[in-house]
Amino acid sequence: MSRCYLAWAKDERIREKGADGGFVTATLVSALETGFIDIALVVAKKSVYEGIPVLTSNPEVVKECAGSLHGAPINLTKYVVEYAAEKRIGLPTKPCDARGIIEQAKRRQVNLDNIFMIGLNCGGTLHPLRMREMAADFYGLDPDSVVKEEIKEGKIFLVSKEAGGKEKETAIKIDELEQKGYGRRDACKSCVTKIPTSSDLACGNWGVPKGEEKKTFVEVLTAKGEAILKNAIDSGYVCIEEAPGEGIEMRRKIEAGMQKLAESWKERIDEVNALSRSGRFDFYVDALKNCIHCGACKEVCPVCACEKEAKCLDMNDERDSYAISMYNVLRIFHLMDSCIHCGQCEDVCPVDIPLTLIQRRFSERMQRHLGYTPGMSVDEKPPLYETELRWNAESMMK
């Protein structure tokens, strides 16, 4: 049984700067200060629309990066693989970050024992340029005047700096924005993993009682989570108290409500569903024939571990004149059991192929059929994991 707490940073500056009491920042700072981890991976805020991943062993840098940033839809998995696969690393993880890291661990690209995932509950992220348009068109703000954003109580809050330096908060219901095509990215709208249960800790403001806003609701999910939390408490960076029962219930209800909404979005977003069989085929051809083979979707995919030695690259020959290339066909099939539907591929596609939708249509059915949800537990191997299948075949032959 996991344990739930309300927790906050002892340092008032961190508590103030952090989104919900600065627990995540304080935990990472304490882990660095005490040598519990070698390095932290955080996102430095350039503006409310832009964040840059930073790998640092400097606690001051981590403090600077405190606070939420919904307008920077980055998946951190590949940064861990590329830059810190052999280090003891701590990082905040949205559910899709954690799921990507778990999948990479299954593919032996990272060692989970060295990775401390401070999970963040996530209602979704926004594309920065859509957010700018949203600020101008719906909030009537100069996008560059927005200094803070927050998603809470079903609304998106934007805080702008007015003439004279005064701050003004404006909130609009997410539903209202999303009906008009703004708000969260499509991948986030239809994501049902709202609490990162595959992280070591799951943190957020869901379940924090009214009047105690500068606290974080923390669920301890693993022994590693317990260890990093203990380190933060013992080193005097973090205070905790038992989470109240009604808080736990409130959090559960929020999660369930958001999952229900996500399920409904899946239906609404899936324009292919309404098409006839031949119409669906035409849809796939029309979308995928535009591929220019830039390779960006593979590059950013948090699940793909193939690097340059990949079937989708090896078996693809641009001299073939198929409308849908082998690259796309192989990627769809290769990811059927493992796609976590994070939408990174679609974000970077230069010809706007609805890759998340296409992949979801294939992989969700397959994952349901196999009874497998990728990225949730390192012990569950992907059912179509070829190396595993080969190992099984070899052991059967003995």
Binding site: Y83, P128, R132, D144, R319, D320, V348, D352
Partner: protein, 519 residues
């Protein structure tokens, strides 16, 4: 892990991206990351952009004088001294503005004028001549992509957006989604079927486009302007624009082409790139200063360029990387790679973008030979020339105003194009094509009829012949006219103007015994 914000130098679109140092921290190894807040491209990149790290991994240029390595200040002093020893008419300065900032352009123009030299080329000068003054804006300024998305009728005039300017393709697709009609006028149908209507034109029949003038009414014409654009074809594009209620949007291969002609200015007396090369050939131009320009790499038939350049008394190359001409240059001066530069560029939409680096090395090389100004002073001049108060990628700082002008109906006929047997090779240019250093496609596209005629099978190669020049390539079957060959890669085949060339093609036979076995 150091991450810096930068701009792709692959074409005039100017996509934003991040460059991150590699995990081992090696100086010239890096990784490209997607910058989703980039106003130009929303984090999306074409193949060139996603592979940009390899562009920056080329061999760095050293500071040398007459082949010997020297301190940079000595190379600069020697360059200045030797340039001073030449007559103004014997000098030429060339900067194909792919990785040249506005500040460097202003500085180069000032340096050339210090020597009284008017032979300065940014690659497209000749197009300014012989056209009405009111039409200049079409060369100087592009259009924001929002205008492409808003267009109700788009004519793709010999432009395949997926190949020539891949980040343009999504804008055309968006326009289509909103109901725009897309018409392509081309030698071949776009294989992705982006157009609702295709008007096929034969290379010998460009003149006939004029008969289709009505097609261009109320449309946004998207074309391309490169150093190789046929002058007559350029006039045809202008005429179509002038004689219909259309707008003409010309994309260009070099990142800062807009910056080159706005802050850099343009005089009709300036020599064009090809005129400079001809001037060298004739022995009139004796000294050439190349700023961040891989002349042999960007030009087709590069062995001719190398041969021509060897006639110079003085070749000075200022570049971050070695080029095929570096070994023949009298003086080489090393600058910083583009991503390290402090400075600005203007993209085809009119956005003034900061390159993102902090180094002023390249600028200070030209300034130390010229006026000796600081970065701030040159930057202020750029801002003044562009009419800027501040710089934001979200502002369209350089706006264009459509003007009407009159053009006489041009004749479009080039003898070389006419008649004869064989094939036409059409170079479909793309960011790889203009920027040497990254490998591109190793095949050409041919028609099924050509494949049958040559008796080709999968895996075969073709040899494309133009006089003594030969190119060997794999092939792909595409829906093309029988006589057409498409190539996205450079070959030693030299096009005449318009990036098309008359060639012969045959199946590559295995010549040696070993090759026969492999066959």
């Amino acid at each position: 892990m150091k991450v810096i914000s930068s701009i792709c130098p692959g074409c005039s679109i100017g996509c934003g991206l991040y460059l991150a140092e590699s995990k081992d921290g090696e100086a010239n190894k890096m990784r490209v990351l997607h910058r989703k807040n980039a106003a130009v491209n929303e984090g999306k990149l074409c193949k060139f952009g996603t592979q940009l790290h390899t562009y920056y991994e080329r061999e760095a240029l050293n500071d040398t004088v007459d082949g010997s390595e020297v301190e940079q200040k000595e190379a600069i002093k020697e360059a200045k001294g030797r340039l001073k020893g030449m007559k103004p008419d014997e000098l030429a300065f060339v900067a194909l503005p792919g990785t040249v900032t506005n500040e460097e352009i202003v500085s180069l123009v000032a340096l050339a004028s210090e020597f009284g030299c008017e032979n300065i080329s940014f690659g497209l000068e000749r197009f300014f001549r012989g056209i009405p003054e009111e039409a200049r804006y079409i060369i100087e300024k592009g259009l924001p992509f929002s205008e492409v998305e808003k267009a109700s009728r788009i004519i793709l005039l010999f432009v395949d957006p997926f190949v020539h300017y891949p980040l343009l393709a999504r804008r055309v697709l968006k326009a289509k989604k909103k109901g725009a009609k897309v018409v392509e006028v081309s030698f071949a149908k776009n294989e992705r079927g982006i157009a609702d209507e295709t008007v096929l034109v034969e290379p010998v029949g460009l003149e006939r486009i004029k008969e289709k003038k009505d097609l261009f009414e109320d449309s946004l014409i998207i074309g391309e302007l490169t150093p190789y654009t046929d002058l007559q074809f350029f006039e045809l594009m202008l005429w179509l624009n002038a004689s219909t209620s259309s707008r003409l949007f010309l994309l260009k291969p070099f990142l800062n082409s807009t910056g080159a002609f706005l802050p850099g200015g343009n005089s009709k007396r300036r020599k064009d790139l090809f005129e400079i090369i001809d001037g060298i050939e004739r022995g009139e131009i004796k000294a050439l200063y190349l700023l961040e320009t891989d002349l042999a790499g960007a030009m087709l038939g590069d062995e001719r360029v190398t041969k021509t350049v060897s006639k110079l008394d003085l070749l000075i190359e200022q570049n971050a990387f070695r080029t095929p001409l570096s070994s023949t240059a009298d003086i080489t001066i090393s600058s910083e790679p583009f991503f390290m530069k402090r400075g600005t560029i203007v993209n085809i939409e009119g956005r003034v973008l900061e390159v993102g680096g902090q180094s002023e090395k390249g600028l200070q090389i030209t300034e130390s030979m010229g006026k000796g100004r600081t970065y701030e002073e040159v930057h202020e001049e750029v801002k003044r020339k562009l009419g800027l108060a501040e710089i934001s990628e979200f502002e369209l700082a350089v706006k264009r105003k459509e003007r009407s002008f009159e053009m006489a109906e041009p004749k479009v006929e080039i003898e070389e194009r006419k008649g004869g047997e064989g094939y036409f090779l059409w170079y479909k240019t793309n960011p790889f094509f203009w920027n040497n250093g990254i490998q591109s496609k190793n095949f050409v596209e041919i028609s099924p009829a050509a494949m049958r005629k040559l008796g080709l099978f999968r895996g075969d190669e073709v040899v494309i012949v133009q006089g003594e020049r030969k190119g060997r390539m794999g092939f792909k079957i595409s829906e093309l006219p029988d006589y057409l060959i498409l190539s996205e890669s450079k070959m030693s085949i030299k096009p005449f103007e318009g990036l098309i060339a008359k060639v012969e093609m045959r199946r590559r036979d295995c010549e040696t015994t070993q090759e026969k076995i492999n066959c």
